[in-house]
Amino acid sequence: MSEQLQALRAQLARQVSHWVTAAARLDPDDLASAEAWSRLERYLGLSLRQHLEGVIASVRAEGDILTAMLRSAGSVTALRELRQRLLTFRRKFMRAETTLDFYADAINTRTSSHTAGLLRACDILAHRSMALALDQLGHRTPVVLTYVDKGLGASILKAGLRLWDGGKESPAAAIKIVRHNLLRPTALLHEAGHQFAHIVDWNRELAETLDRGLADAPEGVAEAWASWASEIAADAFAFAHTGYASVAALHDVLAGEGSFVFRHTPGDPHPICYLRVLLGTETCRYFYGAGPWDELAASWSASYPAAGANARTQRLLEESVPLLPRIVRLTLDTPQRALRGRSLRALVSPERVSPAELQAMEARLGTSLYTSMHWVWEECIRLLALTGWRVAVAPAEATETLKLQETSMLRLGGSLQAA
């Protein structure tokens, strides 16, 4: 063997050994503590573990190929081929590590039994919100992994998407819920709405529906609203499940600087915040008539006069506002192919979470609504709608209301022992 060959081989052997050893060290148990794993609901834990083990097995299998190639490489050409393969392996390793770290970080946010209880409740809320609609459409609902993080708004890594490692599809809908909203997690349902729309393939159709339904609007308006279809769908989903609570919570997140409220970035799937809040209040009016949302809308418009936007955006706002009732109808009350010819309203009735219905539920079930595992499970989403509504209309009692929400979430998440 020539010296060059030997030298090349030695260098590659060390690297192969390094990376193969690194791959051998990948272990789901090292990513998160046994305690953190145990704080996941069993089904979710198994599903994630299986996925991560698959990711690791795939990296290790590639490592085995490297080792075999090194053993048999007897020429410079073969060693060069090995080198190429090694580079591919490194990329694969990094991608796998990104996947593993993502889930490890998510799992590790279940730092205490208290947080774990709240997050398990979030998993259930998001899952049940989707199942309610997906069951009717004959689709299977994915498991949900909620994790808590800093920030203003929630986000989702949808189940069924190909992950960084380029291998299998993500095994769970991973939803980030931000700390400030942990007890008002209507945003969870917005994210679950994204997953729902993805599964039934609704976004494209809703965009077409909006585009068609607003065809008579001034130029650019229909296109703008069609481009926001995915976020509108998710907002509508959250509204159908939690009513005014979702609108009030969305308002509180979006009520930032004027520049933020009026920001319009073409290509951004999010509607201009100003319009998004008004669409929410208009949705309330559409389904429930007059109510506290009218005051919120008035206050919103007063706080952020449209004049604060640039001329182009201002025109879009002014041209859009009169169309909001129609946009609500197109989104929630128009039959869609993706929804098997039904409207979202027919699948998930917003009337069930009208303030009157919520108050009637509370009167009917009394204290049991918050203490009985049956109602806490059965009505978990309407309970969120109820407490969210109450926080919105009676902010002075928000602390007590949120305590109720927290207790029922802990009960739902299995962290509060029955007496």
Partner: protein, 795 residues
């Protein structure tokens, strides 16, 4: 003597019965030992106490019984079994596994003994007469173990504290009543001795966990009999044997023997034995008597247990090997003759064949011939193919070519095993007569073949003899796991079914209608139809439901398994013969050959509540428990309403529904649940508190009119009392339902019910049953007291 051909499509040959018919009657089987634990309360013909000490003793033993302690022992045993199984799978080392398990248990032994010491320190030097019940309960609640316990031990320790508190309260109660012979030596010395009972009791649980039969407690039973009646207990535990044979008789002919009790005790036996030991200590007249009791318990602990199930597991694997390696034309009879004796000790009725070596030899020859067409290098591959075609690969992911080869031998072994089981249940007059035995044995083989093998005969045969198939689905049953010791059988195909609410109401599960499981545990809306995939299983000797769940899936729970009765099989699958008739439905002690099913419903899994150890546990299903108490002359009925049912009731009460319609709904709930209890079909749900008996199975002795009268009279008392209560005190139900506990218990106490004493007289083995129905129906309406408590209470 001329012999006709034996009429089975599996075999066309002259009879085996020789010219000189040999009488098997000459063989004397050993006395049935059945369960080494006899039903110590069922002492034939003896029902009246002859002195107050005996009455005190019986009352002590009966009052100490706590159904929740049974549950705790069962959970402990299941946890240990899981650990042991893990050990076996990972290292395969039986002895090591046992040692590790014992080590694991040592923490619990220590802590349970420490709890006794704590009770001794607290109450040992106190005058029992000065103790208030609340004080004892408060101490039990307060007491916490010194070290953090394994979560699975916490539940047990909680119930152990309750048991100890019960002992102290009971002793104090006797002293207060002036019963002079109770705790004569004071509480201290007695509590001190209880420590010595902990290890033997837990040792029995451990033995049961690893598939051994703990040694008999007959000496304790005999001592009890001597104490109560001054006579020894009937040799051989005839109480148990009688109950077993009545169970077998209760099953229809087709299922007789196919389904029978496994040998060995269950956790109730272990608790009952402990309760006797505790009573013996409290009523001991001196230190020597106490020492004797302790020595007896320790002696039991040291006695070798019988590894009946482990032996059968090994023998079965060996038999499968032998069948697989048979050369063409080689007779399997010698291997069968070796295998049958390993099957019998694992069956309660198996003892009938032990000691009848000629019968076993005859059967081995017969079975050796009839399985000839199914085994050997030429026949086995065809059978394997048939099993693979029947869906083997859908059963498990682990099927390799060598498994396919082995599965034929495994199915033939299962058929032989089931045939032997069916034969073990045959009456003596058949076992004693060669000619009869031959005919019955072939019938048993055909039924076993139909239940285990895929269709292996020609279409023409099945047209002529449709009884040779169990169902149109033409499936096969395979023993699993494929490569390890077998734990259960699984049907190679699944069934897609649509379950309507009406079907779910009609199908009985262990706790009540299947509808309860669907709504209360799976959270399926009332009135909804569900699509489900049905998976079918069958128990082997020693199989417990958690064994199946553990092997099937990490996320499966034993609560997902339901009995596949004839009715369930008919309604769910349209194949009633695939079901099995069960004399009783007891989730903790299912027996051998019991068919079960689980339902896979997309997106649905058992709803949980956090348990005492913080771990999630399944929501409890509702049910009715009855105590017929002759000593207090009262009937107590505890109706536990699941959380779902409790909330529905509270909802109606808040709406102030019409009392009549509430009572009608209550009656609708009660009727299908109460009647099986009072007819003895759910003996674990009824307690008979009387000198001579406790087993609810004794209710099966009641004539139909008496059972019906009891049911009618009790229903009347409960429904009218409930209607009145709902009208005047509904707030108490609503308040209980608002508690965070899982479900509510409504406890009815019916004072001096008419006919109760006559009923107990009738329940004696030779009791007079005439006029009982009249006595029950006579009399004015009894006083009924109702209490409502949050959560589950068994009494």
């Amino acid at each position: 003597m001329a012999q006709g051909n034996v009429a089975t499509p599996f075999l066309e040959m002259p009879s085996f019965v020789s010219e000189e018919i040999e009488s098997f009657a000459a063989e004397t089987p050993p006395r049935t030992i059945g369960s080494p634990f006899i039903s110590v309360y069922e002492l034939d013909g003896q029902s009246e106490y002859t002195d107050p000490e005996r009455e005190t003793y019986a009352s002590f033993v009966q009052d100490l019984y706590d159904e929740e302690f049974d549950e705790a022992l069962y959970e402990l045993m299941i946890g240990a079994r899981g650990l042991h199984e893990e050990q076996l799978v990972s290292s395969g080392a039986g002895a090591d596994g046992e040692r590790l398990l014992r080590q694991h248990f040592s923490q619990l032994v220590r802590e349970a003994e420490a709890a006794v010491s704590a009770f001794e320190r607290e109450f040992g030097s106190r005058d029992p007469g000065s103790l208030a019940e609340s004080e004892v309960d408060a101490f039990a609640d307060r007491y916490a173990p010194a070290s953090a316990l394994e979560p699975e031990f916490e539940e047990f320790l909680g119930k152990w504290k309750k048991k100890l508190a019960g002992v102290v309260k009971k002793a104090a109660g006797f002293v207060k009543k002036g019963v002079k012979f109770a705790a004569k030596l004071g509480l201290g010395p007695v509590l001190n001795k209880i420590k010595a009972l902990v290890k033997p009791m837990l040792e029995k649980v451990l033995q049961m966990a690893i598939g051994r039969l703990p040694e008999a407690v007959r000496p304790a039973a005999q001592q009890l009999a001597a104490r109560l009646f001054g006579t020894p207990a009937p040799e051989g535990g005839e109480g148990a044997a009688a109950a077993d044979s009545s169970s077998a008789e209760a099953a229809p002919a087709a299922d007789a023997g196919a389904v029978q009790a496994s040998a060995g005790p269950d956790v109730t036996d272990v608790q009952q034995e402990l309760d006797q030991q505790l009573a013996n200590l409290f009523l001991a007249s001196d230190e020597v008597e106490m020492e004797l009791e302790v020595a007896r318990a320790r002696g039991d602990e040291r006695q070798a247990s019988v590894p009946a199930y482990a032996d059968l597991d090994r023998a079965r694997e060996h038999f499968i090997d032998e069948l697989q390696n048979l050369s063409e034309g080689e007779d399997a009879a010698p291997h069968i003759q070796n295998f049958i004796p390993a099957i019998l000790p694992a069956l309660k009725l198996g003892m009938k064949l032990i000691g009848r070596p000629k019968v076993v030899g005859f059967l081995a020859n017969l079975l050796g011939k009839v399985i000839g067409k199914l085994i050997g290098p030429e026949a086995a591959p065809a059978l394997s193919r048939a099993i693979v075609d029947a869906g083997l690969k859908l059963l498990t992911l682990e099927v390799a070519p060598q498994d396919e080869q082995r599965v034929a031998a495994s199915s033939v072994a299962a058929t032989v095993e089931e045939t032997a089981r069916r034969i073990s249940a045959l009456p003596d007059y058949v076992l004693d007569n060669q000619e009869l035995l031959e005919g019955f044995a072939l019938e048993a083989f055909e039924q076993a073949a139909a239940a285990n093998l895929p269709p292996v005969l020609s279409e023409a045969v099945y047209r002529e003899r449709p009884d040779l198939l169990e169902s149109r689905s033409r499936t096969a049953w395979v023993m699993l796991p494929l490569r390890r010791r077998k734990r259960y059988k699984k049907c190679a195909r699944t069934f897609r079914v649509r379950i309507t609410p009406h079907m779910a109401e009609e199908i009985e599960s262990f706790e009540g209608p299947l509808a309860d499981y669907l709504s209360d545990q799976l959270g399926i809306e009332e009135g909804a139809e569900v699509e489900a995939e049905v998976h079918l299983y069958e128990t082997l000797p020693g199989t417990l439901l958690p064994d199946i769940a553990r092997e099937e899936a990490e996320t499966m729970k034993a609560g997902q398994l339901h009995p596949l009765t004839r009715k369930a099989a008919g309604l769910l699958l349209g194949e009633p013969r695939m079901g099995r008739m069960l004399p009783e439905l007891n989730r903790r002690n299912v027996g051998v050959g019991v068919r079960l099913y689980s339902l896979a419903i997309p997106g649905k899994r058992i709803l949980t509540v956090p348990g005492a150890d913080g771990k999630p546990r399944s929501r409890r299903l509702g049910g009715v428990r009855v105590a017929l108490d002759a000593t207090r002359d009262e009937i107590r009925v505890c109706i536990f309403l699941s959380e779902v049912k409790a909330q529905r009731l509270a909802l109606r009460l808040r709406r102030q529904s019409h009392p009549g319609s509430l009572a009608a709904a209550f009656q609708k709930y009660l009727a299908p649940r109460l009647a099986p209890v009072l007819h003895g079909a759910r003996p674990e749900r009824v307690r008979l508190i009387h000198a001579g008996m406790t087993s609810g199975a004794a209710l099966r002795r009641l004539p139909a009119d008496a059972a019906t009268a009891l049911s009618a009279r009790l229903s009347e008392a409960l429904v009218t009392a409930f209607a009145e209560f709902a009208k005047t005190q509904s707030q108490r139900i609503v308040a209980a339902s608002e508690d965070t506990a899982d479900g509510i218990t409504i406890r009815f106490t019916i004072a001096r019910p008419a006919g109760l004493q006559q009923l107990f007289k009738a329940l004696q083995p030779n009791g007079h049953t005439a006029g009982v129905a009249d006595a029950l129906l006579r009399g004015s309406r009894p006083d009924v007291r109702i209490e409502v408590v949050p959560g589950y209470q068994s009494e």
